[in-house]
């Protein structure tokens, strides 16, 4: 160790090139991923995946005539269900609504959580755009949403047959996502 041979010194001089090259490859992969959607610096996975949803019980949305639900209603349904957090003031929720209606028509149980909303606004939203929800709970203070780790509305979760969270999507469900979603909900 007392002296460095010339070749060892040479290796050291190549270090900047090697580091820059590796970083460049990494950035290249990131840019490729950004373009095809596989790398998304904002797509944060839910901490709930593979776990049971948290314990909660929601009141019903006043005057909506839909049964409310609690954590127990997600278990033992015999089939996967979709839990959707939404609000009438949320613009992307309007974009996503036709997809929820389609799932509802196909017989998928869609459970809605009405997030920080006024009951009257929620009711008129459902009257105007149609009601896709088999059950609907009101989360006026937004506390249940925090229990789930919700970022904002709209946000959707697929609960599997075993009662565990299989999938989460933060943002509106788009038409392109439907085939994958149908497969998850089958």
């Amino acid at each position: 160790m007392s002296t460095m041979s010339p070749s060892r010194r040479r290796v050291l001089l190549y270090a900047p090139l090697a580091v820059a090259g590796a970083a460049g490859l990494g950035f290249w992969a990131m840019l490729r991923g950004l373009q095809d959607g596989s790398f998304n610096p904002r797509g944060v996975p839910s901490a709930l995946i593979g776990r049971a949803p948290p314990d909660f019980a929601l009141p019903e949305v006043e005057g909506a005539n839909l049964p409310a639900f609690a954590a127990g209603d997600l278990r033992g349904t015999g089939r996967p269900v979709l839990v959707n957090f939404w609000a009438s003031w949320c613009v992307p929720c309007i974009i996503e609504h036709p997809q929820l209606m389609a799932l509802h028509r196909e017989g998928v149980p869609v459970l809605g959580v009405n997030y920080k909303d006024r009951p009257a606004d929620a009711r008129s939203f459902l009257q105007r755009h149609g009601n896709p929800f088999a059950r609907l709970g009101a989360d006026q203070p937004g506390r249940v949403a925090i229990e789930w780790g919700v970022y904002g509305v709209p946000e959707s979760y697929v609960i599997g047959r075993d009662g565990l969270v299989k999938w989460r999507w933060a943002g509106p469900i788009t038409a392109e996502m439907m085939p994958e979603l149908r497969r998850l909900l089958a």
Binding site: T3, N40, A47, L48, W89, G142, G149, Y151, P172
Partner: protein, 155 residues
């Protein structure tokens, strides 16, 4: 990507309530409030860009601020409060990444670079010493040169 950002902007915009927060979010006891704030500075506002929940106007950040204060007021320790939020929102919410197999390189960076640099310096000096050039007293020529570069300008 652009569309996603647009959507996120919409998410951030609603429901437009408070700009800077509400007095009810502060705890009466200054010691507890100081603790709550220190905890809040460790938590990322998830829908913002690199801001802590203490520094954000977003609705989620406000909800989390209340949550942190409720936990602290209920007697939870700082660690318990952080764990509570961590369990629900995952690693991403922690601005101080937890030390673990995935972050060991990150946390080791200061030691690795400082240590690596020191070793490189020592090795270079040893090699230099082995080739044996010169003594470490300034020669007359070097002194004159430094005086020319550093001394007062010639009149």
């Amino acid at each position: 990507m652009t569309r996603l950002l647009l959507l996120l902007a919409l998410l951030l915009a609603a429901p437009a309530h408070a700009q800077i927060g509400d007095t009810t979010y502060r705890l009466e006891d200054p010691a507890l409030e100081a603790r709550a704030r220190a905890v809040g500075r460790e938590l990322r506002c998830l829908v913002c860009q690199n801001q802590s929940i203490e520094d954000s106007d977003a609705s989620l950040a406000r909800d989390l601020r209340i949550l942190v204060r409720e936990q602290i007021a209920a007697g939870a320790s700082d660690e318990e409060t952080l764990r509570f939020v961590h369990q629900r929102y995952g690693d991403f919410v922690l601005l101080r990444p937890p030390v673990g197999i995935h972050t060991v390189l990150l946390w080791a960076t200061p030691v690795l670079f400082l240590g690596g640099g020191l070793i490189a310096i020592v090795l270079t000096r040893r090699r230099r010493a082995a080739t044996g050039i010169g003594d470490t007293e300034l020669s007359a020529e070097e002194k004159a040169r430094l005086a020319r570069l550093e001394g007062p300008p010639p009149p």
